[in-house]
Structures are given as C-alpha cells and as structure tokens.
Subunit: 323 residues, 2 copies
C-alpha cells in the first residue's frame, strides 16, 4: 500500500524546506554531515501529520509548515543520536552519520538539529508560538525519557508489557501526537479539536509502533527491504516477545511446553512456529488495530472519514503497511 498520489507535492515542499533550514553560513563541518543525512528523506509521516492536522481544523497548511519542518528536524536529531547509542551502521540505506563522520560530528549534528528545529518553530505566528513551544519542549523531554527507558530495558529481563507500552508512548507516540497537536494549534483549532487530534496522534503512534514490532517477525522481506528477525537475533525485547511471555503466563500447559527465555530457541524459524502456535502475532495485530480504531474514532470527530482525506489515508497506510 502506498500513500496517495496527492500527498506527493506536499512531500516535495517539506523536503525543500528541510534542506533550506540549514543556514548558508553554517560551518562546513556541520552543514556537510547534516546535508548528508537530510538528503535521504524518510517517509515524512510526522510533518505530513502536522500539515494535514492544520488543514483538518480549517487552518492554512502554509502556517503549519514551520512547525512541520521543526517536527521532522527533531525526529532526525533523535535518529542520529539513537544510531550512535545503538551502534547502528545503516539508516535509510546509507551509512549512519556517526559511521561516516565519527561520533563527535554526529553528536554535534544532532545538537545543532535541535537548535534548527526550534529555529523553525520560532517562525510560527506569535499567537500560537507560546503554545507550540511548550508542546514541543515537553516532547523533547519525553522522547529523551523514552530513549532512556529503552536503554534501561536492554539490561533487564523482567520488563512488563505495561512498562513497554509506557516506553513506546514516550519514545515514539509522543512525537507523533506532538506533530498533530502542533498542526491543530497552527491551524487555530478549537481546544476540543486540539485535544482530539492530540489523542488521534497518540493512538496512531501506539498502533504504528506495535505494528512496527510485529513486522520484524512477519514482514515480507522483499517489501520490508531488510531481513526480518533482527530483533530476535539481537535478543531485543519488543512487543512480540513481551506478548509471547504474557500468553505463556495465562496457562500452565503453555509454560511447560514453551520456554520463557527466548534465547532458548535455536533458530528464528523455531520461534516463529511457537508464535504461530500461540497466536501471538494475531493477538498483537488486534492490539495495534485497537489503537488504530481509537485514532480513527478521534479523527471522525474532527473531519468526515472520506477516502482521499489525507489524515485518514495516512492512518490506513500505517495500519496496512508491510514495510
């Protein structure tokens, strides 16, 4: 499934403005690595949500553009710093920034992107500026908390599903809800519309992240563009492993037939079979769908749910994506 064609012109505007956000007189040791990273755009879901949230409340997409750029630059900062912490080598098909330019440059590029993100935000009309700056700042703190919890979880083997959901609420869903909230503010939405789109973004973000975790176990490798099973091989705790353990807890028979410790599985295929026998993936899919349904219910109170409506299309795209 693809994003609808009518979204493409907006993607081009976002990408152009993102590249223009680097000041012309920036030191080359900052502009070059940042340009390297920004030239490989992602799906741009977050800035699209900002623009279309503004439109959904009857506002102007132009007024929401600085906030949309700010959200994407913020997202880029998190990716660059997370890649250092996670020692990841590849991002969007290219070498990660720290592999290509070294840790120091990657740290500083991420820091500068926070500054450039706020700089873009400062272009929001003064009437909305206090509100959006407060929301944006809260997101910065929460996303750092989410990343801290994610790193803490790597050293623990007793993580509960609820703790995991709290972590992804901060690490992933918070910025997605912020993207929507900023758009609603920039479009001068009513307080009720702002609340609904904030809730929409949160639920969408939760559904998106659970879906993302499921995909690493079931995706079509050709469509995903990378090997499935990397979370399994890295012994990473995700929604899938926690749901697996939660299902084991529900039955003594399960507990005697399946190991609680996933590292006991000798192969990914063997673990996939256990997931299949225990219906872990359909059960997770149900929870992801539940969040998406909540998101759609929020959205329905703001705009009519018609095919072609961009927020509705993005939601359905994220729900059905296989990559």
């Amino acid at each position: 499934m693809k994003l609808p064609e009518n979204i493409k012109p907006h993607l081009d505007i976002i990408h152009k403005n993102i590249l223009q956000s680097i000041p012309d007189d920036f030191p080359v040791s900052l502009s070059e690595p940042i340009r390297y990273f920004l030239q490989m755009p992602g799906k741009m879901i977050r800035p699209l949500l900002t623009l279309f949230s503004s439109k959904a409340v009857g506002g102007n997409m132009e007024d929401a553009l600085p906030a949309a750029i700010a959200v994407e630059l913020f997202h880029d900062f998190t990716l660059i710093h997370d890649d250092i912490m996670d020692q990841d080598d590849l991002r969007r098909g290219l070498e990660t920034l720290h592999v290509k330019y070294g840790d120091s440059t990657a740290i500083l590029s991420g820091d500068a992107l926070i500054g450039l993100a706020y700089s873009q935000l400062m272009r929001v009309p003064d009437t909305s500026l206090n509100a959006v700056t407060k929301i944006f700042t809260e997101a910065l703190v929460k996303v750092c908390e989410g990343q801290a919890l994610d790193k803490e979880f790597e050293a623990r083997d007793d993580i509960q599903l609820e703790e995991y959901l709290d972590m992804i609420a901060k690490k992933t869903a918070w910025l997605i809800k912020t993207a929507c909230a900023l758009g609603a503010h920039c479009g001068n939405g009513t307080p009720e519309q702002v609340d609904l789109l904030t809730s929409f973004g949160y639920n969408l973000g939760m559904g998106f992240q659970i879906q993302d975790d499921l995909l690493d176990f079931v995706a079509d490798e050709n469509k995903l563009g990378k090997k499935v099973g990397s979370d399994f091989r890295m012994h990473k705790t995700t929604y899938v492993t926690l749901k697996y353990r939660r299902i084991l807890q529900s039955s003594a028979q399960y507990r005697s037939n399946y190991p609680a410790d996933i590292s006991k599985y000798s192969s990914f295929a063997e673990f996939q079979q256990a997931l299949d026998e225990l219906s872990v993936i359909p059960s997770g899919q149900q929870e992801a769908d539940h969040y998406i349904q909540l998101a759609i219910a929020d959205l329905a109170q703001v705009i009519p749910l018609e095919s072609g409506n961009p927020l509705y299309e993005i939601t359905r795209f994220l729900q059905r994506r296989q990559y």
Copy 2:
C-alpha cells in the same frame, strides 16, 4: 579575588532550583547521571548574570530565575557533550559524565538537559516568553556553530586570529550575552537597556575567554587548581599561540629568531620564555582588558558603577581572576 559575600544567597537559590529541575519521575538512568553532574556546581556566572541583569533594569530577580536556571542547564549540556568530543576525563574535580556512565548516557543526559533548560524557560511570564525563546534558540544554534569551528580548527594550522575571535564569540561569548539579554527581558527592560546588557555580555564573554586562554600560560598553579601549560602540551591553538604568531609576522627579525611552529619548542618553559621576550601575555592582557572596558562602558549606561553592585563586581572578578 572572590565574588562578594552578598552573592552567596543567590548561588544557593540557583543551585537548589537547578537540582529541582530534574522531574521526580525521570528514569533513573537519566536522573542519576544528571544529578551526579549537577551536584558539582561551577561558578554559576551565567545564571548570576541573568538574575542581576533583571535587577539592573529595575526588574524582579524572581521573574528571571527560570531563565537563569535555563541558561545554566544549557551550559551544563554543552560541557557534557564537549567533554565527550574532547575526550576529557575530569570536570570540576570529578570524573566526566561519559567516563563514569559511558558515552550513550552522556549523550542522552546532554540532550535531556536541553529539554529541561527549555522547560525552565517555559516558566518565564508569557509577556516575555516569545522574546526569550527566540534569543535562547539562537544561542543554541550559535554555540553549536562555535563548537564545530573549534573542532575544525584542531585539524588546521593556518587559523587567523580573527577567525579565532569569531569562534569564541559563538562558543563562549554568545551564551554569556544571552544570559544578560534574558535577564534584561525578564526584568522588562527597555529595548535600549536590553541592547546595552546584550553588548555588555558579549564584551564580558570575549574578555573572559581571552583571559581564560592567557591563564593556561601564566596562572599560579595552586590558585588555578590544575597544571598550567596543558594547551601547550596538547598543541591546542588558542589566543596565545595565535597572538604569538601574529607578533612574529610583524618583524622579519622575530621570524628568523623564533619558530612559527610551536611544536618546535622542546619544553613549556622554553615557550614561556619566548612569550616573555615577545610580550605576548601583556599584549593579550591588553586585548582582554579592552573588552572588559567596553563591557564596563555598556554597563555604566544601565546602572551606576558602584562597588558592591553585583554586575560590576562580577565583571571585576572575571577580569582579575587567577583561577
């Protein structure tokens, strides 16, 4: 020379509020390293400048406290990330954060401090909030630029004195001028007062940094609390080496008697003797004093220059400090 005794209660208030800026529900993997860092307070020059700038324009110090805390947290973020990039092991007499907790934790702690700094800033009264957020954001971008230039200079041997002054203007003076500008805004200073205190902060910052560079060559080790000559041994380009080269350029005789390449000196004592013969330190002291005089001239247009006035005392303290 010490800061006057009447400043101490303000230092205590700042330190208490800085520790309280860490949210109670922060993940322990963030609150512990941040608390570790914040427990060893520095001289707190920047937040003091914010408080007293507010007072100087007839404002309330209480109203400037959130901005003062924001400035100090911002400064702490730069120290933590710079220490990683510079691979420094000691800070304020203790292990640097990245040595004690690892690079990942130090990166994330710095990021979180940017968020906490902005969170504090959000407590500034709404009437000043837009202005202070814009000034603060510009500082974030400029300080990153300054750090990038500083790192670029490490790989070059053709740096000009003017480039160096531009670098320290961004890396050091910008945050000091921001500290003063924020205080002037929070105290509801007139545009003219804001401009004067901004200029005061810039000149003070430039004088401070040049003085800092000089101290590494001439300080009394007991008062400085660390070995002098570390810049020489690390082959670091600073104001002193650039001024040395600039003086050589003024005379063919100097150029034949003294090597342009400082690494030709076999010992620190030998280089110190050359500095002495060429009057490099007095010449640098003159430039530092020049900036301090400009700062004092700015200040004189805002408040009467009386002994006991805190901004005047801080200026004199920085001018005469030997550590």
